[in-house]
């Protein structure tokens, strides 16, 4: 029976290029992220972490295999952006904020895309930025923010969308240890609030906060274990 509270990849494979230049990124990967858990996806660079995040986030299509959200197959959805906007939020290592918009506008954008009136979207975005300690920085452009602040804005954008699943690709990769700790704590809080959070990282320290650890190497899962309690 399908689990109605998880984001799941089933036998997902993906390769890039053709012939001799073909690179296999994923080889029949199975992974699930349940609501309320923080999963750490560990692996060295080139192990397929980002590809898996992109496929789970419906940004890329797998060559084979299927994606399920709460038991519903979404891998061949005709409007993946609708699912992304409502059910899955993605946080990137490079923050990926729109440079022409203020922090507040960047955070409000997912709500505007969903058709929520600007007044309400702005109020929710402001409240979320406040929660992440950026109340004073909401009118700043990304170029005026530090790396840690930019990543918090990106997390605020993921939070405000009320997505059930948050996929974070190396969210602390560009941050100093203090900010990395702060961001990791926020993501842990989000999982405790009932969201399913997947963090792709090659930082083993971040894995100590996870409820479950999945280790990826050369496109295959080589290890998976539960942690008894997240810190």
């Amino acid at each position: 029976m399908a689990n109605m509270s998880e984001l799941k990849a089933e036998a997902v494979s993906k390769s890039y290029g053709r012939g001799g230049a073909r690179t296999i990124a994923l080889r029949g990967v199975n992974i699930r992220i349940s609501k309320g858990e923080l999963v750490a996806l560990l692996g060295p660079s080139g192990s397929g972490k980002s590809t898996l995040i992109n496929i789970l986030g419906l940004i890329e299509k797998p060559d084979s295999g299927r994606i399920f959200i709460d038991g519903e197959e979404v891998s061949s959805a005709k409007s993946p952006w609708l699912i992304r906007g409502r059910r899955i939020a993605i946080i990137f290592q490079a923050f990926n904020l729109i440079s022409r918009l203020t922090a507040l506008e960047n955070v409000a954008l997912p709500l505007l895309v969903r058709g929520i009136p600007e007044r309400i979207a702005s109020a929710e975005a402001a409240a979320t930025l406040e929660r992440l300690g950026l109340g004073e920085r909401k009118k700043a452009r990304p170029s005026e923010l530090s790396g840690g602040e930019q990543q918090r804005v990106a997390i605020a954008r993921a939070i405000v969308s009320r997505s059930e699943y948050i996929l974070a690709d190396e969210p602390t990769g560009n941050l100093d240890s203090e900010n990395a700790e702060l961001v990791a704590g926020i993501l842990l809080d989000l999982s405790k609030e009932g969201r399913g959070v997947l963090i792709a990282t090659h930082n083993s320290d971040l894995a100590t906060k996870a409820t479950r650890v999945v280790r990826l190497k050369d496109g295959k899962i080589i290890e998976e274990y539960e942690r008894r309690s997240a810190q």
């Binding site: 409007s79 952006w81 609708l82 906007g85 993605i90 904020l97 440079s99 022409r100 895309v113 600007e118």
Partner: protein, 366 residues
């Protein structure tokens, strides 16, 4: 399932922010559109106006007339009309029998002529024709005083002004050759057409044909329609040459019409218009490729931003529209300014030829 779509205000907001962020690129792109549109507008307006003007000259009122006269071909291929009395009634009859001929108006011409008014003698260095008043009606001149059929002296307005006479004035004409001195009453004053029609077919003064004695210097032929002028002209000329003997060495019977006179100019102008059209289309294509290239480069630069918009759930059509709005702004602003500049340049180019501007005015503002 709804969603995924940014509202119009936000799409416009993002498009305008994109434009304002890359100011120099935006300005250069708009400048490219301005130059392209202005060039196309100028070439099209100037070209089409000149063709329309030439058409109005060649195919306007009175352009179904053919003039038969004697003339001299110069060594450089030019032609001068030297009316001599060579056309008899047999020629008039032969021309009347030509297919497509509507009316034939033989005419005698004197040049120059002397006018005595109130003891003031004026030598008028302009031709005086003896012709059927219906000929004047066929040319479409406007009578501003009197009429064409009153049987007296008919003058163009400039000749009447020169002689300081009006309808009802009596003048004495001293005509060269065998035509005697006669006193005539002015019965009509007309305004000749401003087009080439006036120069070719309309004279400065007219007397009734009944006052003319001997063979005719000219024959005016009115055809049934405009389209057949060229073929009728050839047949009329053939008939005239068959029935006429020109004794003066160097002179021959020739036929003229506005359409044949303008045919070369019309062909040249149409060729020029086609060239400008080609140049305009080429400019449009090159400009279009240039603008597309700039927009594609702009898109490539913002591929990350597009990815972000899609990652947060924006639909492909919303993302596409943002960049279309940006392109539309560039196109509309550049197009509007280019159109204005193009029209101003066209007016500047056509200004020395004010008659050419009337088709421009009618084609642009009506």
């Amino acid at each position: 399932m709804k969603g995924g779509r940014l509202n119009s205000m936000w799409r416009t907001k993002l498009a305008l922010r994109n434009l304002s962020t890359a100011k120099l690129r935006s300005i250069l792109t708009i400048l490219g559109v301005i130059i392209g549109v202005a060039f196309i507008v100028t070439t099209m307006v100037v070209g089409s106006s000149s063709v329309t003007w030439l058409n109005s000259q060649a195919f306007g009122k009175g352009s179904n007339l053919i003039l038969l006269s004697t003339g001299e071909v110069s060594s450089n291929g030019g032609y001068s009309i030297s009316p001599t009395p060579v056309f008899g009634n047999d020629t008039v009859a032969a021309i009347k029998s030509v297919s497509g001929v509507n009316s034939v108006y033989p005419a005698g011409e004197v040049f120059p002529f002397t006018v005595v008014t109130n003891d003031t003698k004026s030598i008028v260095s302009l031709p005086l024709d003896f012709a059927d008043p219906a000929l004047l009606n066929a040319t479409g001149v406007d009578f501003i005083a009197g009429s064409s059929h009153a049987g007296g002296l008919i003058l163009s307005n400039s000749t009447a002004h020169l002689l300081n006479v009006t309808v009802g004035s009596s003048v004495t004409l001293l005509l060269p050759g065998e035509i005697a001195t006669e006193t005539w009453k002015v019965t009509g004053i007309f305004v000749p057409p401003s087009s080439s029609l006036g120069a070719l077919f309309v004279r400065s003064a007219y007397l009734p044909l009944s006052a003319w004695k001997g063979d005719y210097d000219e024959i005016f032929v009115k055809t049934n329609g405009i389209t057949s002028v060229a073929s009728v002209q050839a047949n009329v000329l053939d008939a005239a040459r068959r029935t006429t003997t020109v004794s003066t060495i160097g002179l021959s019977v020739e036929a003229f019409s506005l359409q044949t006179l303008f045919s070369g100019a019309l062909t040249a102008d149409r060729t020029l218009l086609n060239f400008f059209l080609f140049a305009g289309v080429l400019a449009l294509i090159i400009g279009g490729i240039g603008v597309t290239n700039v927009m594609l480069m702009s898109l490539k630069e913002r591929i990350r931003e597009i990815g972000i918009l899609k990652a947060i759930g924006t639909s492909d059509s919303s993302v596409f529209t943002v960049y279309m709005i940006e392109s539309a702004f560039v196109g509309l602003i550049g197009g509007a300014i280019g159109l204005g500049i193009g029209l101003l340049v066209s007016i500047g180019v056509l200004k020395p030829c004010w008659p050419c501007l009337s088709p421009l005015q009618s084609s642009v503002w009506s």
